[in-house]
């Protein structure tokens, strides 16, 4: 129950931020960071807990975005329903890609490359298909009513993405404490040993990919509601695949709060770099990401969450920590 308490505390604390009179620029920063965190939370279910490192989570993000946008604009579907169907679309892509890759036994870098290929195929298809607006993209009509899932104030969007992140945190917490979660981690640690204990590794991985796809698709759905525009590069581009895997790796793979922490830190550093150079150096944020990644992999392989718990045990039990250090 401690884990659920921690989720509640973090979410309530973050929900109070708009009352502190922060500027729209800050809120905008937080909204983007939370959106990236959500995409990363999806990646974390499959990559962090299941050990299946996907390079193509754009496939889910983009599908969520396009389903939401196309249903609203072309078919006049209610925004909230379209949002739900967008998430379902991500889950479906997860089932298809997961079913194909895991049933054929792809692991490690082969799995990563095939997921990347799926995302790229979808990007190219969406850049030529008329239904996705081909090269032009899709504009969603401005309609600032909660019924259309659009809000007049930034705070409305902020609470919405925070609510989505809260759901994803809760889902992750439930997974961590469930039979499914234990079996998923067992598959990550040693697939043969898991199978010997009655774990159907293929089914577990496919289910993880479905959940993962649904969560990351929710981030894509939100992107459309917030920016009211989507095209193939934004939806299925490698940028979101990279953000989705970078944030959990930096924050701490296979931890509940890793993606959230990672997204806030990575985004803050990227934003800071842009500030310092006054926007004169486009792409500098990517350089910062690269440096942070090198530092994390070098000094805290379990991410910021792992580094924090190491630090805590050193402060709380200095003697033991020293022993561990020398051992």
């Amino acid at each position: 129950m401690r884990g659920f308490g921690a989720v509640a505390v973090v979410v309530i604390a973050m929900a109070l931020v708009p009352f502190l009179g922060v500027s729209n620029v800050t809120l905008n920063f937080l909204i983007i960071a939370l959106m990236i965190a959500l995409a990363g939370q999806g990646w974390n279910v499959l990559g962090g807990y299941g050990g299946q490192y996907s390079f193509g989570h754009a496939a889910f993000f983009g599908t969520g975005a396009y389903v939401t946008a196309v249903l609203q604009v072309l078919y006049g579907v209610d925004a909230w329903i379209a949002f739900g169907l967008g998430i379902a679309g991500g889950a479906l892509i997860g089932a298809i890609v997961g079913g194909l890759t895991f049933r054929s036994g792809l692991r490690g870098s082969y799995f990563a490359l095939v997921t990347l290929a799926f995302a790229e195929v979808l990007r190219i298809l969406s850049s030529v298909a008329p239904v996705t607006g081909a090269g032009v993209g899709i504009l969603v009509k401005l309609d600032l009513r909660p019924a259309a899932m659009q809000f007049e104030s930034r705070a409305g969007f902020y609470w919405m993405i925070l609510a989505l992140v809260a759901v994803a945190l809760t889902v992750t917490q439930i997974i961590e404490r469930s039979r499914f979660g234990v079996w998923l981690i067992a598959v990550r640690e040693n697939e043969d040993a898991a199978a010997a204990l009655g774990v159907n590794a293929t089914a577990i991985k496919v289910i993880a990919m479905v959940i993962s796809g649904a969560i990351t698709a929710a981030a894509g759905c939100f992107y459309v509601q917030y920016f009211l525009f989507i095209d193939s590069g934004l939806a299925y581009g490698t940028w979101i695949s990279i953000e989705a895997l970078l944030t959990p790796i930096i924050g701490g793979v296979g931890t509940v709060f890793g993606p959230l922490l990672g997204a806030l830190v990575v985004r803050a550093l990227g934003e800071g770099a842009q500030r310092i150079t006054g926007g004169e150096a486009p792409g500098l944020d990517l350089v910062v990401y690269g440096c942070v990644l090198v530092l994390i992999v070098g000094f805290a392989p379990r991410g910021l969450m792992g580094g924090l718990s190491q630090l805590r045990s050193r402060l709380w039990h200095p003697a033991r920590a020293v022993k561990v250090h020398h051992g």
């Binding site: 469930s178 234990v182 040993a193 159907n200």
Partner: protein, 250 residues
């Protein structure tokens, strides 16, 4: 005799040109300890992998409790009650001892509290109670062998395949482990063990199969097998039995 728990009929497995297991037929009876011995490379571990579903046989059938289970996936066989340990222990290194056993305990206990309680009970039976919160990767060899056994036991098997659980243990650790294995058998679990520690085989097993170059060359009680010239030759080379016999005569 009633129908055996496990019956192999002319099971073969080829790897390219190499026949690792060649038309092996054997029956494992319920409620006793059976040993599978043989020189290195005889195909013992391959035979275990075939029984547990990690390899599919090139030919032959496997019947378990009267049902044909040939070529079934390992997780399905585990559900049916066939568990195995690995010769090279396969623990979930990053997880604690408790979580390692929990993976197996969840197979028949879906509720977390029940599974946790069962995992702790198993750990207690195998003398791992004080190590529950230790990461599996930090255990000694003896600890890892016990954990390997605990994980398999947590799935509540009816047939337990032990692949060299005594290898790498020192004599006092072996002395501690022998009653543990005997205790499992007394709980009604049929055990098949691959073992090189002959002293343990002699004291534990009721029935022994000897595998050499992929074939069963002898079977019987431990003393019968030990006295079989074919077995002596398989271990010590062609003509060894005659030479040893000659030595005795002088």
């Amino acid at each position: 005799m009633a129908e055996p728990l496990l019956q192999l009929e002319r099971i073969s497995r080829r790897f390219g040109g190499l026949t690792a297991v060649n038309a092996v037929s054997l029956a494992i009876a319920e409620g006793r300890i059976t040993a599978l011995i043989g020189p290195n490379g005889a195909g013992k571990t391959t035979l275990f992998a075939l029984i547990a579903g990690f390899l599919k046989p090139s030919g032959g059938t496997i019947r378990y409790r009267g049902e044909d289970v040939t070529g079934e996936a390992p997780h399905r066989l585990a559900r049916r009650g066939i568990a195995r340990t690995f010769q090279i222990v396969q623990s979930f290194g990053g997880l604690t001892v408790r979580d390692n056993i929990l993976v197996g305990a969840y197979l028949h206990h879906a509720a977390r509290e029940r599974a946790l309680a069962f995992a702790e009970q198993i750990a207690g039976e195998l003398g791992l109670a004080s190590l529950l919160d230790r990461p599996a990767a930090t255990l000694t060899v003896a600890g890892r062998k016990r954990l390997e056994l605990a994980k398999a036991l947590a799935t509540e098997p009816k047939l337990l395949l032990l692949d060299e659980v005594l290898a790498g243990l020192n004599p006092s650790e072996i002395r501690d482990m022998v009653p543990v294995i005997r205790g499992l058998c007394q709980r009604g679990i049929a055990i098949v063990m691959i073992e090189h520690v002959m002293q343990a085989v002699m004291s534990l097993a009721e029935h022994v199969f000897v595998l050499a170059e992929g074939r069963i060359i002898a079977e019987g009680t431990p003393p019968q097998v030990a006295a079989d010239p074919a077995v002596v030759e398989a271990y010590l080379g062609h003509g060894a039995a005659a030479r040893l016999g000659g030595a005795h005569a002088h």
